[in-house]
């Protein structure tokens, strides 16, 4: 078929809400955009393990340690589902990791903030995973089959994460005045970065239109951000905590909460690599990868030895 016909068929397929599968013809730009988007998403999952990993040994009880460990293990799994989805587009996982480690690839900026008290783990689960769910649920219906299927698995597991975070916040908010203060402090620090997770405003998001046409983005950044705020404000009220935005108020006419100006300078600055933990995160990642090299090699050697022994037995 001619390129033009294939393009027509692809466009019709997507317009029809049919899924594109790995071996189907797709425009190069679609493939490239997807590789970038899915790998960034995968990187975010595995870098996202680091701020929480910081608290596994310090969580205040054995039960909470076990729960946090399970959550961080889930994030690793999410990374794997997503790397696998990216690989169906014809890239090698090692290439993607290399791009992460040498700074060419991006991941969600939120993970460049530090987790300095236990309530931060609550705030991450409640707000960061909450915002992630808001972003991810629509992607379960995106046009690329393997990505959509990976997102279904991710979303199923993610709702436990948000609830465990909310429970941490609830326990602290209902605890001693000091504990409540810690919860409030965590909310103060994580609120704005969580809102930034939805990306720049629609006016400053040049690729959004194309991605929406391709159905690999189904709602605009501002739309999802608004939804997140509308959902989260009543939850903060249940906690008895104050969202750190003096301009936040219900707008009867719009049927939404109005909110204050986001500090976009901070957002772009963290993306550029100048957030509080950018360097530390990448260093930790690189070290984990390099220190794991001998394990990967040993596994290959072991597998080869096992295969050779099997062959000997078969020959005898």
């Amino acid at each position: 078929m001619e390129e033009q016909n294939m393009m027509q068929r692809f466009d019709d397929y997507v317009a029809d809400n049919k899924k594109i599968e790995p071996k189907d013809w797709m425009p190069d730009a679609y493939r490239k955009t997807l590789i970038r988007q899915i790998s960034q998403h995968a990187h975010s999952e595995i870098v996202g393990m680091l701020p929480e990993g910081n608290w596994i040994t310090r969580a205040p009880s054995l039960k909470r340690k076990a729960i946090l460990l399970a959550k961080v293990q889930d994030e690793a799994g999410h990374g794997l589902y997503l790397y696998s989805a990216a690989e169906t587009l014809g890239v090698e996982r090692d290439e993607l990791l290399e791009e992460l480690h040498d700074g060419r690839a991006k991941y969600s900026s939120i993970f460049n903030y530090p987790t300095i008290n236990w309530a931060d783990i609550g705030a991450i689960g409640w707000l960061v995973d909450g915002a992630a769910i808001m972003n991810q649920v629509p992607l379960c219906k995106c046009s690329y089959g393997p990505y959509a299927r990976a997102m279904v698995r991710v979303c199923k597991e993610e709702s436990f994460h948000q609830r465990q975070g909310f429970q941490i916040m609830l326990n602290m908010a209902k605890g001693t005045p000091e504990q409540k203060q810690m919860a409030q402090d965590a909310l103060n620090r994580w609120w704005w970065p969580s809102l930034m997770m939805f990306g720049p405003t629609d006016a400053n998001s040049p690729h959004s239109a194309q991605s929406m046409k391709w159905k690999i983005k189904l709602f605009s950044n501002d739309e999802l951000r608004q939804r997140f705020i509308d959902m989260t404000v009543p939850q903060a009220e249940v906690l008895g905590l104050t969202i750190p935005d003096p301009d936040l108020k219900w707008n009867e006419e719009r049927g939404h909460y109005d909110f204050g100006e986001i500090n976009w300078d901070e957002f772009y600055n963290v993306i550029k690599g100048n957030g509080p933990c950018n360097k530390q995160r990448i260093e930790t990642r690189r070290k984990a990868y390099d220190n794991g090299a001998w394990v990967r090699e040993a596994a290959v050697a072991h597998a080869e030895k096992r295969a050779a022994r099997r062959n000997e037995t078969a020959a005898a």
């Binding site: 013809w25 589902y81 090692d94 596994a299 597998a303």
Partner: protein, 95 residues
């Protein structure tokens, strides 16, 4: 370091006895045994399965989407293979 990437395995899971195995995703592993162990760790953390198959991805032969039309034409014009093709008198309630 000699670069030897772990091969890709496709993972199939039987969610419960009596159902067939279903493709759930893929992973890299040094060999099939490790693939099974890793599949257990990522794809059955919440009791999603009770039997796992792993297949080296390169061992799978797939039909090509380009020949979709040619491949499935033979079934295209045989509506009589479906029960709805046949008209039954109203008196026959169940068949």
């Amino acid at each position: 370091m000699s670069k030897k990437n772990w091969p890709l395995f496709e993972v199939f899971i039987r969610s419960r006895q009596g159902l067939s195995h279903k493709h759930v995703g893929s992973l890299h592993a040094a060999d099939a045994r490790m693939a099974i162990e890793n599949a257990r760790d990522v794809y059955t953390r919440r009791m999603e399965g009770e039997s796992i198959w792993v297949v080296p991805a390169e061992a799978i032969t797939a039909s090509s989407p380009d020949e979709k039309d040619a491949l499935y034409t033979p079934a295209d014009d045989k509506v009589y293979r479906h029960p709805t093709f046949y008209d039954l008198p109203d008196e026959v309630k169940h068949m």
